[in-house]
């Protein structure tokens, strides 16, 4: 867990994306500006990556 809230640039449109203080690596965030689904791949320093497309065997 990170301790403070930060922002990172969206990989698609570069708009700031807010990372909440209790964010976990692997979490999916939506860019409020372009709507891209972003995966928080690393916490410190926070790094975003375009989230992978849903694959056929995904589910419950």
């Amino acid at each position: 867990m990170t301790t403070t809230e930060t922002t990172v640039a969206c990989t698609e449109c570069e708009a700031p994306v807010r990372i909440e203080a209790d964010a976990l690596a692997g979490e999916i965030l939506a860019c409020g500006s372009c709507g891209a689904e972003l995966e928080l791949v690393q916490l410190t320093p926070a790094r975003l990556q375009l989230a992978p497309e849903v694959e056929e065997d995904w589910g419950e």
């Binding site: 209790d22 692997g26 979490e27 995966e39 928080l40 056929e56 065997d57 995904w58 589910g59 419950e60």
Partner: protein, 303 residues
């Protein structure tokens, strides 16, 4: 206590579980499956010391990755929730059906065929409407309700031509008149902890597809059939999806990495806490992560 979490996408469910585990003061070891290199020799191979984990909770969205990871971890001696064999049975609708039928649990009529021609014959045997589904898959994706022969032929041809080879294992079910809803009973160990019903105007009633969940009261028959279904697939933490018909309950499928975000509020049950209780009990050796397979037709539901 050291608790590993096999994870890929962190959904609301994973955040709730992690928060709960942290509140119990256990040491959490995240295992991100997409980044992990599983060294099969374990610590001796320069990898993680898997044996140091008391228990691993599997929460991957990918069935194939979950299954392979569970298989490796269990082989290295780590108790997993759910167990590898539970994932193997629940992740495949054909395997689930076989396990449920063997245990005497009522299910919708189903057929399996391997060519479009034999699949069409299977559908005509069941009658229209019929439901064609991929044996592996979830969230209501690629399900087809076919109302007549024309539609059946079209879907089967598309699957055979455009799908991967998995789609030529044609899994066909009778269409069940379910009164616009299906039921989900959450089972943790030997307890049915709560249930919801999911209603939709669409014939597919997954909450992932927009159905609305509300609390369902448990009755003796619902509890009995759900526990029998859970036992049939090997136990652990599972969500039993059922249809309610005039002839009784039918178990449609069993989910082994269940989503529950929409079920906590309507049921008032702290599902993450129940999950964590069970995981810790397995870690302490107070519960088995999986049960031995029931003898044929022995786990039948009392009528």
């Amino acid at each position: 206590m050291k608790v590993g979490i096999l994870q890929s996408r962190i959904r609301i469910e994973e955040k709730l579980i992690v928060r709960e585990l942290e509140s119990r003061g256990v040491e959490l070891v995240p295992i991100p499956v997409e980044r992990e290199v599983f060294r099969l020799g374990g610590a001796a191979d320069g990898g993680r010391d898997w044996a140091a984990l008391d228990v691993v909770l599997e929460r991957c969205v990918s069935h194939s990755r979950a299954l392979s990871a569970l298989r490796m971890l269990e082989t290295l001696g780590v108790p997993c929730v759910n167990a590898w064999k539970v994932g193997e049975v629940c992740g495949d609708k054909l395997a689930t059906n076989l396990a449920l039928v063997a245990a005497g649990v009522p299910v919708p009529a189903a057929r399996v065929a391997f060519t479009p021609e034999s699949a069409l014959a299977a559908i005509e045997e069941l009658g229209y409407p019929a439901v064609i589904k991929p044996a592996v898959g979830s969230w209501g994706r690629l399900l087809a309700r076919v109302n007549d022969r024309d539609a059946a032929e079209a879907v089967l041809e598309h699957k055979a031509t455009l799908g991967t080879y998995h789609h030529s294992i044609f899994y066909v079910q009778e269409h069940v008149e379910k009164g616009g809803r299906d039921l989900r009973v959450f089972v943790v160990g030997d307890e049915a902890i709560c249930a919801i019903e999911r209603r939709s105007d669409h014939w597919i009633t997954n909450t992932a597809r927009g159905a609305v969940a509300s609390k369902r009261e448990l009755d003796d028959e619902l509890v009995a059939i759900s526990l029998a279904a859970a036992r049939a697939v090997g136990g652990g933490i599972v969500a039993i999806d059922l249809f309610e018909t005039p002839a009784g309950y039918l178990v449609n499928e069993v989910n082994y990495t269940m989503e529950f975000r929409n079920s906590i509020e309507p049921t008032g049950v702290d599902i993450p806490a129940k999950i964590v209780d069970f995981v810790l009990a397995v870690g302490e050796g107070r519960e088995l992560s999986a049960l031995p397979a029931p003898p044929r037709a022995a786990a039948g539901v009392p009528s």
